[in-house]
């Protein structure tokens, strides 16, 4: 076996970051800069490796690169661990390694002076490697394994400042909420394994397409798998953990929102899409969940006043859009949006981190304002990110949104008007956020004293903003290069095409949203209270996030805890008092009686020995 063959080399992608995790986790105190340098180098190395693999992949006519070994061999069936590079996973690997690399460089500046500086980078590496393993794995078992590792990474990073109660609570909330979905995923995987006898994704899909799985099994397994995706990708109604995940350090949010964690759900649905396609009614469920998430989260983002929460709800909203796209057969469009949204959202979060860095960790937009002069680079790059996410025309976000709208029009045309409303909302809240932070004048002394961030923080911003500006061009086919547009790269059947009137409508909607945002929050020609006061009830409902947290805590307190209390009684009385304590107590009581035989005098013991020997001799004599 040649180690340097490309299909063996791809194991290096996750392993190099695991190496970084282990070495920093164990020896952080003895390493220069507490090991941050190792972490950055390893993720940078993974990115370079990605480029090599990409070159190899393209020169091999986009044939899948596969490498696997047998883990368990039980005769009838075997379980193997394998990595697979195909068109979807190569895109994901590029996104993950690139964003994680930039975020780590940025973190050097952001996390400077933190007491657990090294540990931060160690967990960062673990998180990135788990996500790479997830997108590379060729079977559902390894995927589930990586899926849980991603959950662990997010738990550790969200709760990184666990001294704060809110951070610890948020980490717990993220873990428990995604766990609800994970249980579904696990059951779905088991159902599929039972139906087909294999964990291999391609074999399962093949079996399903051949008609080897009944429709009911396909429906339930894909529904349960979708439940897992809903948890990880923060879809309604399991979206509640993502806004709270803001308790972690801001670069972590950038990573979670752009490249890892939430991308996992979209990736999973995209990967299993041929199965979902066959399940009756599944795509409708996905579309409905997607559009509800898209609109609700967009509305909440419009009224939040915490910079990170606005971005968090905007992420949820865009994830909903991606789900909607998946539900409308737009797999390439969804992945395109995932990548471009990833760049923009990483840019926005890193920009928000930069703002917070200059503002002494204030996140309330009411305290900001007028930062444009004080933080020119942050302001400019944040504007690029906002416009890109708002879908303003030459920026990247526009192109992916357009592709999604096309697939919705072609397969799910009923949803189009609502989707356009969501597009309007998203451009409105992005412009609102930009105006509140950077325009007008400073509204607090923090904002007056704000300063630009160091270079390790601004350079990643600049790189990401260049990508947010131009990566949308990937949608177009380039003549003479063989590149036929991103959609065709993901799936040969999707040829690049446009629907002119739809594009015009989308441009108009995005511009009108942006314009309205600018009129209200930028130039302040319309006073916001005039609009919101007649809709006071609606405003309060949205501001309290449609009461999701309240409903969930009511369910948890009243129903789950009451049930748990009854279970506790069973545990106390039956399991503990009779089972465990019962065994212990009976041993103790018998020992209380038997202890009188232990006099501690030598002659007692030897007498017992002699008598015993004598009795044995008699017994032997009788038997003989």
């Amino acid at each position: 076996m040649d180690l340097f063959q490309i299909n063996n080399l791809i194991w290096m992608l996750p392993l190099i970051c695991v190496f970084a995790f282990l070495s920093i986790g164990l020896f952080s105190k003895f390493l220069p800069s507490e090991g941050a340098i190792i972490s950055i180098f390893s993720i940078g190395f993974a990115f370079i490796l990605f480029i090599f693999v990409l070159i190899d992949f393209i020169s091999g006519d986009l044939a899948a690169i596969h490498s696997s070994f047998t883990w368990i061999d039980l005769g009838e069936w075997t379980i193997s661990w394998g990595l697979l590079i195909d068109r979807i996973s190569i895109v994901m690997i590029g996104l993950i390694t690139f964003v994680a690399f930039l975020v780590q460089i940025y973190s050097v500046g952001y996390m400077k002076g933190d007491s657990r500086f090294g540990w931060y980078f160690a967990v960062h590496s673990l998180f990135a490697s788990a996500m790479m393993l997830l997108v590379l794995s060729d079977n559902l078992l390894l995927l589930y394994f990586a899926w849980e590792l991603v959950g662990l990474g997010s738990y550790l990073l969200i709760g990184f400042w666990y001294e704060k109660t809110s951070a610890a609570e948020a980490a717990k909330k993220a873990f428990v909420t995604t766990r609800i979905g994970d249980v579904g995923l696990l059951i779905g995987i088991i159902i599929l394994f039972k139906a087909t006898g294999t964990f291999h994704i391609s074999s399962i899909i093949h079996a399903a397409q051949e008609g080897g799985i009944s429709n009911e099994v396909i429906f339930w397994s894909s529904f349960l798998i979708f439940l897992g995706a809903m948890g990880k990708s923060a879809q309604f109604p399991l979206h509640v953990w993502l806004p709270d995940a803001m308790e972690g350090p801001t670069p972590v949010s950038a990573l979670i929102h752009a490249a890892t964690m939430v991308a996992a759900g979209i990736y999973l649905v995209g990967r299993m899409f041929p199965l979902f396609e066959l399940g009756p009614g599944i795509l409708v469920i996905i579309s409905i969940v997607g559009i509800v998430t898209f609109i609700l989260a967009g509305a909440i983002a419009l009224v939040m006043t915490d910079i990170k929460r606005v971005l968090a709800y905007s992420t949820i909203s865009h994830l909903g859009l991606m789900m909607l796209s998946l539900g409308s057969f737009g797999v390439p469009a969804a992945f395109f949006h995932l990548v471009l949204h990833g760049f923009s959202k990483a840019l926005l979060f890193l920009g928000a981190g930069s703002v917070m860095h200059g503002m002494h960790d204030q996140t309330e937009v009411e305290l900001m304002g007028g930062l444009r002069k004080k933080m020119p680079i942050t302001s400019l790059t944040f504007l690029v990110g906002s416009l890109s996410l708002a879908g303003i025309v030459p920026l990247s976000g526009f192109f992916s949104k357009d592709e999604i709208l096309i697939s919705i029009w072609e397969y799910n045309s009923w949803f189009l008007p609502i989707t356009l409303f969501g597009v309007f909302l998203s451009s409105l809240y992005m412009i609102r956020l930009y105006c509140l932070i950077f325009l007008s004048t400073a509204r607090s002394e923090y904002a007056e004293k704000a300063h630009e961030s160091p270079r390790t923080m601004t350079y990643p911003l600049i790189i990401l903003s260049i990508l947010a500006l131009f990566s949308g061009l990937l949608a177009f086919p380039f003549p003479f290069t063989g590149w036929e547009g991103f959609a065709a790269f993901i799936d040969d059947h999707h040829k690049f095409h446009m629907i002119p009137w739809l594009t015009v409508v989308s441009i108009l909607v995005a511009f009108s949203g942006a314009f309205l945002g600018w009129v209200i929050y930028g130039s302040r020609r319309i006073v916001i209270n005039n609009i919101s006061s007649p809709l006071k009830f609606l405003y309060r409902l949205v501001f309290r996030k449609f009461l999701f947290d309240e409903i969930y805590s009511w369910i948890a307190n009243k129903i789950v805890f009451t049930f748990s209390r009854w279970i506790t009684i069973f545990d106390r009385v039956i399991v503990n008092d009779t089972g465990i304590d019962g065994v212990g107590n009976s041993t103790k009581k018998s020992a209380d009686i038997l202890k009188y035989f232990q006099s501690g005098y030598l002659y007692n013991y030897s007498l017992v020995m002699v008598v015993g020997l004598f009795l044995m001799a008699i017994a032997w004599w009788l038997v003989e």
């Binding site: 501690g600 005098y601 030598l602």
Partner: protein, 104 residues
């Protein structure tokens, strides 16, 4: 002299030894009683070797075996005496009833 005499002597010696082990409090006396029991066993063995009509080779082997046992018993006795001496240094007594610090 028949085997009965040897067995009789052996039984008496063994019983005396057993009585000593059970009745005495002094560690030194208990040790001496154990030696008595050991030698009773030796006498028993040599009696069997001598009077059961074995050939010359087996008889020689039996006697050599006894010498080995005595030698090893001497070494073991030295060890036991050393332990008792240590105990005496620590507690100023060799009374086994006072040696109860391992009792829970």
């Amino acid at each position: 002299m028949t085997i009965i005499h040897f067995q009789f002597l052996s039984a008496i010696l063994f019983s005396l030894g057993l009585y000593g082990v059970l009745a005495r409090r002094s560690a030194v006396l208990i040790l001496m009683s154990i030696e008595l029991m050991l030698n009773a066993v030796n006498i028993n063995l040599i009696g069997f070797v001598a009077f059961r009509g074995f050939g010359q080779e087996i008889q020689t082997f039996g006697q050599v075996l006894i010498i080995f046992v005595i030698t090893i018993a001497a070494a073991e006795l030295a060890l036991a005496i050393a332990i008792i001496l240590r105990i005496y240094r620590n507690k100023n007594s060799v009374n086994v009833d006072e040696m109860n610090i391992l009792k829970g």
